[in-house]
């Protein structure tokens, strides 16, 4: 087993041992999205109009909830030193950590979103599109959030700082993610929005592991 696969497997096993961490994230997503129909009222047109934005925002906040522990736990128990000392690129280790985060948050959020979308009166095709955009967009959230988590490692109030750093960087993903769903619902160009969303994910994939590794090395000093 390669070091990359071993690290992903280890983090997944840790989540399996403490499922409450993921359950809290998903519960937040459910509660946050269901509050909107309750607060705004049963006007179907209004709910359908705001659905994509609400679900994407809630997914973004839910993903951020779990990110402050992404590297902090390794930092606190000393396993970050073992990652820094692994005889393979730290950039790959950073990518493995973000990959594991995406598997346990991004994928469940994408799976859960269409179910919650029913409460907003979305058509089945739009529900499917919502799930696809989250599947394509949430890797960017994990990567950018991972960078913010690495940069705030060891800082006081790191959770708030992480959100302040990550949220502005996630705005393009939020715009094109929600925009893609909106485009499909209103007859716009869904494919173009999705392509931009995928491009943002690729840019994050190509850049953030190096930045995360640099931040982790700095934290390890």
């Amino acid at each position: 087993m390669s070091g990359f696969a071993a690290l992903v497997a280890r983090d997944l096993r840790l989540v399996w041992r403490r499922p409450g961490d993921v359950a809290v994230v998903l519960a937040f997503f459910v509660v946050a999205t269901t509050l909107f129909p309750l607060g705004i009222g049963p006007e179907a047109n209004v709910l359908a109009r705001i659905a994509a934005g609400v679900l994407w925002c809630a997914a973004l906040f839910a993903a951020l909830l779990s990110l402050d522990r992404l590297f902090a736990a390794d930092f606190e128990d000393g396993t970050l030193d073992l990652l820094l000392l692994a005889p393979w690129p730290l950039e790959l280790a950073a990518l493995a950590k973000c990959c594991a985060h995406w598997i346990v948050t991004g994928v469940p959020l994408a799976a859960l979103a269409p179910i919650l979308g029913v409460a907003f009166g979305l058509d089945p095709s739009v529900l499917l599109a919502l799930s696809v955009t989250l599947l394509v967009g949430t890797p960017t959230l994990s990567l950018i959030g991972g960078l913010a988590a690495a940069l705030t490692l060891g800082a006081r109030k790191s959770g708030a700082l992480l959100a302040l750093l990550a949220l502005p960087l996630c705005v393009p993903t939020l715009i094109f993610g929600a925009g893609a769903v909106e485009a499909l619902a209103t007859g716009g160009d869904f494919g173009a929005h999705l392509a931009v969303l995928a491009a943002l994910a690729l840019v994050a994939l190509a850049t953030t592991p190096w930045a995360i590794a640099a931040a982790l090395r700095q934290a390890g000093e």
């Binding site: 071993a6 280890r10 030193d81």
Partner: protein, 209 residues
């Protein structure tokens, strides 16, 4: 002295704006142990972290078989077994899972074959399936030491290896260290306690004024 494998020349480190040590030089050959001693804040841990490339030295070189280790950092890290102040264990994994995960992160295949002997060396066989969060401080330290043994790395870097260990565990550590040295391994240990091995060298670090 044996032909040096590890050579440190004119090493200097600065931490938090303060020079921790400077012009530090030593060499270590096969089967040699170097105990780092000195008061709190004298730079023992910093030296270990600098040797592991976790801290960037301000000046000086670290060479392995005559080659600067910074030229091939991944190869250098592959030669190290590390025990820090913190055990580097995941509380929610079992003892065995922690050891195997650490070996897999090192890219080492077939760690399962060697696991039993590492567990036996530190009397951990009966604890192998226990979650680390349920262990005492001494048992966690023994687990971390078993990880060092399991790594089969030529150079051990140990920060206070005897911390929290009772007398039988200390004896087990000394046996493991003696076996490692007898097999031609090297070890550098920061310690406030006597490592209890004859023939080891000592490097005393002072607090710079």
């Amino acid at each position: 002295m044996a032909t040096p494998l590890l050579e440190v020349a004119d090493l200097a480190c600065r931490r938090g704006g303060r020079r921790v040590f400077e012009r530090l030089s030593f060499a270590l050959g096969r089967g040699e142990l170097l105990a780092l001693v000195g008061r709190n804040g004298s730079g023992k841990t910093t030296l270990l972290r600098a040797l592991a490339l976790l801290v960037h030295p301000e000046a000086g070189t670290i060479s392995w078989q005559g080659v600067d280790v910074r030229a091939e950092p991944d190869a250098w890290r592959g030669r190290l077994a590390w025990l820090g102040h913190l055990e580097g264990l995941k509380a929610d994994l079992t003892v065995a899972e922690n050891l195997l995960a650490a070996e897999r992160l090192r890219g080492a295949p077939q760690a399962e074959d060697r696991l039993d002997s590492a567990l036996v060396a530190f009397d951990l066989s009966s604890l192998a399936a226990r979650a680390v969060r349920t262990l005492s401080a001494g048992q966690r330290r023994r687990t971390a030491l078993a990880r060092v043994v399991l790594a089969q790395a030529p150079l051990w870097l140990l920060d206070e290896p005897l911390n929290a260990l009772d007398a039988p565990a200390q004896a087990a550590f000394r046996r493991a260290l003696a076996t490692h040295l007898a097999a031609g391994g090297l070890a550098i240990a920061a310690t406030h306690a006597d490592l209890g091995l004859a023939g080891g060298r000592t490097l005393e670090l002072g607090i710079p004024t």
